[in-house]
């Protein structure tokens, strides 16, 4: 079970992450997107998934990542991501509830580059009973 004290807390990613052109190229290739000058709208999941996984796996928080199913996802995009962006990621556990034995956790992640907010994402994760 998630530690209720972690709800509402914000966790800072340990390291900043720099986006390379080859990462954008690989993501575009999957989608047959020919314009690789900017990243596709869902690209930021590559950064936020790993960061939120790291944060939520912290024993202090107590999420059982092996039983997680992705419930829903939302992106608020201030500007497209481009190669060379260096992001600091902060994740906040915005909401937590238990329904029919399943834990439902909403995590917001903000990606900042040079102090500017570029993308906010909300992931709802369901930890199956």
């Amino acid at each position: 079970m998630l530690n209720p004290d972690s709800v509402g807390r914000t966790f800072e990613g340990a390291e900043s992450v720099t986006v390379s052109q080859s990462e954008i190229d690989a993501f575009c290739a999957v989608l047959s997107e020919n314009n690789t000058t900017v990243a596709p709208p869902t690209f930021s999941i590559r950064i936020t998934l790993e960061q939120s996984q790291e944060i939520l796996s912290n024993p202090e928080i107590g999420l059982d990542w092996s039983r997680v199913v992705h419930g829903d996802q939302r992106f608020d995009i201030k500007r497209p991501i481009v190669a060379g962006d260096t992001f600091k990621c902060s994740s906040t556990i915005e909401n937590y509830k238990v329904a029919a034995g399943n834990e439902i956790v909403t995590v917001r992640s903000d990606l900042h580059s040079e102090g500017q907010l570029v993308v906010s994402t909300w992931s709802t994760l369901v930890v199956r009973a």
């Binding site: 990462e23 690989a26 993501f27 290739a29 999957v30 989608l31 047959s32 997107e33 314009n35 900017v38 990243a39 596709p40 709208p41 869902t42 999941i45 590559r46 998934l49 790993e50 199913v69 992705h70 419930g71 829903d72 996802q73 939302r74 992106f75 608020d76 995009i77 497209p80």
Partner: protein, 131 residues
């Protein structure tokens, strides 16, 4: 002219195991339920399933093709209601369609539908674009 009710022409994407592998590498999501049939069956799934985020990324491609590129998208959301099931050596469809549900100045809201094998896979999926 774009107005409420304007239809975005349906598009069919095809999903196979190769694209799941490519997406796993591109996204960093190497969960074996998206690549390993034996593992997927062992956790009670009917077969290997596509990443929900791949389904969403393809729905995003549908939107950006219509809106004039990745730069157009300001908001994008979806609920993963059912998985896209991807048996070995098959290409399964992801059929995406959309309709304009709101026009507010230059911001256009699109309601997106996505099905695979006739089953709805994304729910409540919406995008806001500036075209």
């Amino acid at each position: 002219m774009i107005q409420v009710g304007t239809i975005l022409e349906e598009k069919i994407f095809y999903v196979d195991r190769a694209i799941l592998k490519a997406y796993a590498d591109a996204s960093g999501d190497q969960n074996p339920i998206h690549q390993n049939e034996e593992f997927a069956l062992s956790v009670g799934l009917p077969n290997v399933i596509a990443h929900g985020m791949l389904t969403m990324a393809l729905a995003g491609k549908f939107v950006t093709d219509w809106a004039g590129g990745s730069v157009a998208v300001k908001e994008f959301s979806a609920r993963f209601v059912k998985p896209v099931i991807v048996p070995a050596d098959q290409k399964v469809d992801l059929t995406v369609s959309g309709v304009v549900s709101e026009v507010d100045g230059e911001r256009i809201k699109i309601d997106i539908s996505a099905t695979s094998a006739g089953v709805k896979v994304l729910g409540m999926s919406k995008a806001v674009v500036v075209k």
